[in-house]
Symmetry: C2
């Protein structure tokens, strides 16, 4: 085994298991194949339609979907029409979210799913569909169906990068990895830049492994709770979020402890760091809260405060804004004054791209943390100038 | 009576009572005097300390204070030490919020209040204190006490402008008016630019009238509910918000119906329009909700969505972002798809500085509305570059 390298698991906040070997992320976990093609949805001719499939029939899977009540057509198709525990393949597109597109949108998502199933020779119920991009614009379904067919045809074990590219919207670059530890491989591809607030998947994220996973749904939800559920860019729960975990078990041994969690946390942090216009990531730890719910509520209020987010951008160790946001989250409650003895905001002003902040509420012994991006001129530019 | 003029009550959303005469806002309602001085708290030498007092002993008053659990020292002093129904005078300063300043901050707010009481010959319990500006910085109490004494000495019936200037922080200009109708006069001064989200007063606002008001507390809270409680700039509940209504009844007749409401709504809209970096104001009407609480929750989610706020700035009629925010507020609920038949976002793209938006949820017959500012480059600049 080659020595541990950590160019992917690079965040100060990610604890990687021992002995991880990092592979070329183009290479998928054994037993999977993928591809991405340019179908014309993106104005710039970029890769925008992809297919990822598992070769084995014995795949076990878990699917997490956004809780947004205005969920997009592909999310509703996955919810209503898919066997979440036995997903063999997924068809994706970027450039159009197929959200708020009415009954036609639902039919389009079904057609996209059916095209992938037919091209791959699978039952439709074993194929998921995921889309991301502009909301409220009819999907160019003919282009998508054609792209899905082409992608299915050229899908290969080294299609990881092309598939990751097919997910991207305002992302600065693809988010992906392939890691091996203890004889088990896991590969992952994710996207997410704006409209990011936990709730579930919070983005698109696909994970493939040849490791054995007894209860994929519990494992995925547990790992998401510590990663994708702990991040916010702009406090906005997307209409299209999805996370899909697929495991063949062909390696004959379990996924090493902590590996899925490390992969998802690093991807989550990359999503925050790549938040629309973001230049820095903060981690706020709320301690000594009266309950876990309270700690969470205060942490999210701080992480979503535009005043704290602009202070992170401006490198201003303005602990008063943390006090204000905490007080807002606890409106009407008794609270001993939050001064600099209880708030550590010094890293707001540090050179580090990852700033660790904390506040002790003095109300109990519960705690929670949230990762968040700063709020910058580029967030305004990206969201004011472009239709998303 | 001179003809109605409406240079103050100018918003499309404000319904003014008939026969309003607009006076020079420097002139206070009969029976009140005020002043503002430069005490050196603001680096630029601006007016930063003010005093406003009622000449009559028979004043009736109502005081509304922020619910922020990290309330500033002046708010706690008002809450703990003042007779809210019999406030004769208020001492104010801008440049320093005296928030998160510990026991010393509380002693400073008391000292400021006591200085005003002594200079005006009043009982301390009949004097309120209000501060706004930077959080977490010790108050220069000697300068403030000196300024309060000077302001009390020069306070006059035409001190409205100087008093309004003493409230300003990042406001572009003073927010004030003096209106007369049916033989009754009302004058008002307000400030507020960032850290604005309803909860109560949401800013500093002072209202004086010689009209008769039977139940000032009920009247003030009712009028705030339709005005200051309906606005948001950045979703942040301030540590220092306060609204003070004082009525002498010397006019011998009641305040005309709707006048206080019109004044407060216009001031609220000016606060939104002057939100940090704001260029436009939106009004979102959420109709056909299952309950008033639900309508309110959805309206606030839309009004505080940075995606909707940047669309308002960018004049992008992006109704999909209204659908997304609605769906987030209703996460986990059943919701018939929100398409362009249910969402009117066309005025996002209009030339108007006041854009009217609506969404019909199709879940019942409750409704609610919220006014909000856009999110612009200047919000980032103001809050990233300056310590507030």
């Amino acid at each position: 085994m080659t020595p541990t390298t950590k160019s992917f698991l690079s965040s100060r906040w990610v604890q990687a298991p021992e002995g991880i070997e990092e592979l070329d992320p183009t290479e998928l976990a054994p037993g999977f194949r993928a591809a991405g093609v340019a179908a014309g949805l993106k104005g710039n001719g970029g890769t925008d339609v992809g297919v990822l499939a598992c070769n084995a029939e014995n795949v076990r899977s878990a699917l997490a979907l956004t809780r947004n009540a205005a969920a997009a057509a592909p999310v509703r198709v996955c919810r209503d029409e898919c066997d979440a525990a036995a997903i063999r393949a997924v068809a994706v597109n970027s450039g159009n979210a197929n959200a708020a597109t009415g009954e036609q949108g639902y039919r389009d998502a079904l057609a996209m799913r059916d095209a992938a199933a037919e091209a791959l020779g699978l039952e439709p119920a074993n194929v998921a569909v995921a889309e991301t991009g502009t909301i409220g614009v009819p999907l160019e379904i003919d282009a998508v169906v054609k792209g899905v067919g082409e992608a299915a045809e050229v899908a290969s074990p080294v299609g990881g990068l092309e598939f990751a590219l097919a997910l991207m919207t305002t992302d600065r670059g693809p988010k992906q990895c392939t890691l091996r530890a203890d004889g088990v491989t896991i590969s992952a591809q994710a996207k997410g830049a704006g409209m990011i607030e936990p709730g579930f998947a919070t983005m698109l994220c696909f994970l493939q492994t040849d490791g054995e996973i007894d209860d994929p749904d519990a494992v995925l939800r547990g790992a998401l709770a510590g990663s994708m559920e702990r991040i916010t860019v702009d406090g906005q729960l997307s209409t299209n979020d999805m996370a899909l975990l697929q495991a063949t078990g062909d390696a004959g041994r379990p996924l090493p402890d902590g590996l899925l969690e490390a992969v998802l946390l690093q991807l989550a942090l990359e999503i925050v760091a790549d938040g629309e216009g973001a230049t820095r990531v903060g981690r706020i730890e709320v301690a000594d809260a009266a309950s876990a719910e309270e700690a969470e509520r205060v942490a999210r209020a701080i992480a979503n405060s535009p005043l704290v987010k602009t202070a992170l951008f401006g490198r201003d160790s303005n602990w008063g804004r943390i006090a204000q946001a905490s007080g807002q989250a606890l409106a009407g409650e008794e609270l001993t004054e939050l001064g600099p003895d209880r708030i550590d905001a010094s890293e707001l002003a540090s050179d580090s791209p990852e700033a660790e902040l904390s506040v002790r509420l003095g109300r109990g012994d519960a705690s929670a943390h949230v990762f968040f991006s700063d709020l910058t001129h580029d967030y305004i530019r990206i969201n004011a100038e472009y239709t998303t």
